[in-house]
């Protein structure tokens, strides 16, 4: 990241849940990212998400609003008029869709999901997290989801994907609610290749990325590489 750039961080703030319930991104991680962007000289750091439950409840209970503001970010709510229609000529099923201007226009777009069990994508990770900056009737994306989610990711590529796996939701995702479904893994995965990042994270849930349709689709269409043996990867264990 260069000095004077604008940053948009898109954590998962979708649900009216506490951090311990692992439905939203860990607020301290979001705050750290904000802090480091500011230290690197960012002109402006904005944090937002298009929530599923009522926005103010989610922003508050997740702890992300307070933590981000404290670290110096602008925390904003979604304004309907700021969605811009983006055409996706290479889309197989989705040819155009509204995307949030702030994400399209930011110099640096950091996608920060939390890893959770999800019935339609198996695990919700970076690709699914993009649904938080799209407009329109998101329910329509769930039909033929595996193809459509790749179409959407063609329109915007994050500068960096950071997957929060400090706590993950193993069951009853993505909204959760039962602490027994939460597992503490204490892992963070970051990368510029969104497919590789998601593929690695699938492994945390004992899922072979080769079995996940959207990863296969994305690799075929050149969005990244899901075969981790072909990816330059570094694993750091801080406990060692």
């Amino acid at each position: 990241m260069k000095k004077g750039q604008t940053v948009l961080i898109k954590p998962n703030i979708g649900w009216d849940r506490l951090p311990e319930q692992a439905a939203n991104t860990n607020p301290d991680e979001v705050a750290q990212v904000v802090k480091m962007c500011k230290e690197a000289g960012a002109k402006r750091v904005r944090v937002l998400d298009r929530t599923c439950n009522q926005a103010r409840r989610c922003y508050k209970r997740s702890g992300i609003e307070a933590a981000s503001k404290k670290a110096g970010a602008e925390v904003r709510h979604i304004v309907k008029s700021r969605f811009k229609s983006v055409s996706i000529p290479n889309g197989e099923l989705v040819k155009s869709w509204p995307f949030y201007r702030d994400a399209l226009e930011a110099d640096v777009f950091i996608n920060m999901p939390i890893a959770k069990d999800h019935s339609i994508s198996r695990v919700t990770l970076g690709f699914k997290n993009i649904m938080g900056i799209i407009g329109g009737d998101r329910g329509q994306i769930h039909k033929n989801f595996m193809t459509k989610i790749v179409d959407l990711n063609l329109a915007i590529k994050p500068t960096l994907t950071i997957i929060d796996a400090y706590r993950v939701l193993l069951r009853n995702g993505p909204s959760g609610g039962n602490l027994a479904d939460v597992a503490e893994k204490k892992i963070v995965i970051a990368g510029t290749d969104p497919v590789a990042v998601d593929s690695y994270a699938m492994g945390l849930f004992d899922i072979d990325p080769g079995q996940v349709e959207y990863l296969k689709n994305a690799t075929r269409r050149g969005l990244g590489q899901m075969d981790l043996s072909k990816v330059k990867m570094k694993v750091v264990d801080l406990s060692a």
Binding site: Q54, R61, S81, H142, K143, G177, N178
Partner: protein
């Protein structure tokens, strides 16, 4: 004194508006938003009569009633926000010019006592209609469903216009954010029954074209009730010898309470607005504590009373014999914490406070039409297609002034069934087209999701076999919050719906 009254009126109107704006998520307050509703003695008495229980939250009203005995109808003149609004709108209207010394007619004055009688008789027979006539409930209802949405519409329109011009973007964005946390709603509020409710309000204000304070003089049963209690008030109007019989006081009297003998006023009608004091040129008029020298007849003949009681009883009979309430459509989904239906219909004053506060969070509550019969008109029901009951919210119970919705602790509310969801298998995507959807399951808030899957092979319309996740509702876990219905992506009627089956109601 008139200035003091005006200041008091404006203060209480602003307080009313403040409490109204305050009734929104996150609702962290020290002054309850339903304060005015609880303070209306009419609501208190009618509700207690209908339910035959003493409801603690309305005891504030009895303080007002007790104070009326020595002080008269000060509530009408100094406090009532509807009175203040009527005063304001009356000033904007032209009325027929009167000949000098021609007093306005007192013909309709008995109607408010008749209405009071009718409504109280109906309450005795367990049908509560007071909500239609109570000025505070009426005003709150109109503000929630009509005035605030219009205000928001205009203000949001202004903001959207600013956004579209692209000028001063950052500042407008910040201002918009601030406004959304205070006076603006999160989303444009829209309610059913708004047109009917607005007609009532517009009707009342339009009566100002006939005389000033037409509602207060002739229709308001709260005014009638307070009038009854102020028969023997201690604050009296005195006219001394400097009076030159110019008749200006009679003309300026908002309640037409001054008799043709200008020294005599009707203590049952007088609201102590002090207009006569301020308008009297020789300063002959004053208000002091003293002996009773005014007229204090209650304008209600025995005949009128019997007529009114008959109307009240007829209303009861008609409401209770209409088949509309008998047809079990299951659409009367009550807010979580609602008391048993009979009790609910007696207690609910249709003030729409619950509707108002719900609209700032999940947004499922709407004024009903006939979903619960004629007796239930304008009571709150959940309309899941428009909004859902937020899992972590129990605000409706916190703002209900009469306890029609009990204030539940969060753990209890999260387990309480409002109803049950059912799949409409002719519309639900997996069921009719063998494709995966699962938006409902995704949003189901119960920690152990109430929507589960039956994963099996199915033949698609094209003839191939596919593994499909067929959703079904676990009735034991489902609490009927309706988020599945709200988020269902089927165009038009959803693939899932909620009825009030197995709804758990509170016994008090």
């Amino acid at each position: 004194m008139r200035t003091a009254r005006r200041i008091s009126q404006i203060f209480f109107l602003l307080l009313f508006l403040f409490l109204f704006f305050q009734a929104r998520y996150p609702y962290e307050t020290w002054l309850p938003s339903d304060l005015f509703l609880r303070a209306s003695p009419l609501v208190a008495i009618a509700t207690i009569l209908a339910t035959r229980k003493v409801i603690a939250s309305v005891l504030i009203a009895f303080i007002i009633l007790l104070l009326t005995v020595p002080l008269g109808r000060f509530f009408c003149g100094w406090i009532c926000p509807l009175g203040t609004i009527i005063d304001g709108s009356d000033n904007l209207m032209k009325r027929k010019k009167r000949k000098p010394r021609q007093r306005e007619s007192t013909r309709f004055r008995s109607w408010k006592f008749a209405i009071l009688a009718a409504v109280l008789v109906a309450s005795l027979f367990s049908v509560q209609f007071i909500w239609f006539f109570d000025p505070i409930a009426l005003l709150t209802r109109t503000m929630t469903t009509v005035l605030y949405p219009v205000f928001s519409f205009l203000l949001l329109g202004l903001f959207n216009f600013s956004f579209s011009t692209g000028l001063f973007e950052d500042q407008v964005y910040s201002a918009y954010d601030m406004a959304q946390n205070t006076i603006l709603p999160i989303a444009q509020p829209m309610f059913f029954e708004a047109v009917l409710i607005s007609l009532v309000f517009i009707g009342i204000l339009s009566l100002g074209m006939v005389t000033r304070r037409f509602w207060c003089r002739n229709l308001c049963p709260l005014g009638a009730l307070l009038g009854l209690f102020s028969k023997f008030r201690l604050t009296k109007r005195y006219v001394n010898e400097t009076c030159n019989s110019c008749s200006i006081c009679q003309r300026e009297c908002k309640m037409n309470a001054i008799e043709d003998d200008y020294a005599v006023n009707n203590t049952v009608e007088c609201i102590e607005c002090m207009e006569c004091v301020s308008n009297c040129k020789p300063h002959s008029v004053s208000y002091k504590f003293g002996k009773n020298i005014g007229k204090n007849e209650i304008d209600l003949s025995k005949r009128r009373f019997i007529q009114a009681a008959a109307v009240g009883l007829a209303g009861v009979a008609i409401a209770k014999t209409s088949a509309v309430s008998r047809e079990e459509t299951g659409l009367a989904i009550r807010p979580p914490g609602a008391v048993k239906e009979d009790d609910f219909l007696d207690r609910c004053i249709r003030c729409q406070e619950c509707v108002r506060i719900c609209a700032t969070t999940g947004g499922c509550l709407q004024p009903s039409f006939l979903q619960s019969g004629w007796e239930g008109i304008w009571t709150p029901v959940a309309v899941p297609r428009l909004g859902y009951c937020e899992y972590n919210c129990n605000l409706c119970g916190q703002v209900c002034p009469t306890g029609a919705i009990q204030n539940l602790v969060m753990e209890k509310k999260q387990k309480l069934k409002m109803g049950i969801a059912y799949f409409d298998k002719s519309r639900c995507i997996p069921w009719y087209s063998q494709q995966d959807c699962l938006v409902c399951e995704e949003h189901c808030p119960t920690p152990d999701k109430a929507i589960k899957f039956d994963i099996r092979e199915a033949r698609t319309p094209e003839g191939t076999m596919r593994t499909v996740k067929f959703p079904y509702v676990d009735e034991e876990l489902c609490i009927g919050c309706g988020i599945c219905v709200t988020k269902c992506p089927v165009i038009g009627k959803a693939g899932i719906f909620v009825t009030n089956a197995r709804a758990e109601r509170i016994e008090v």
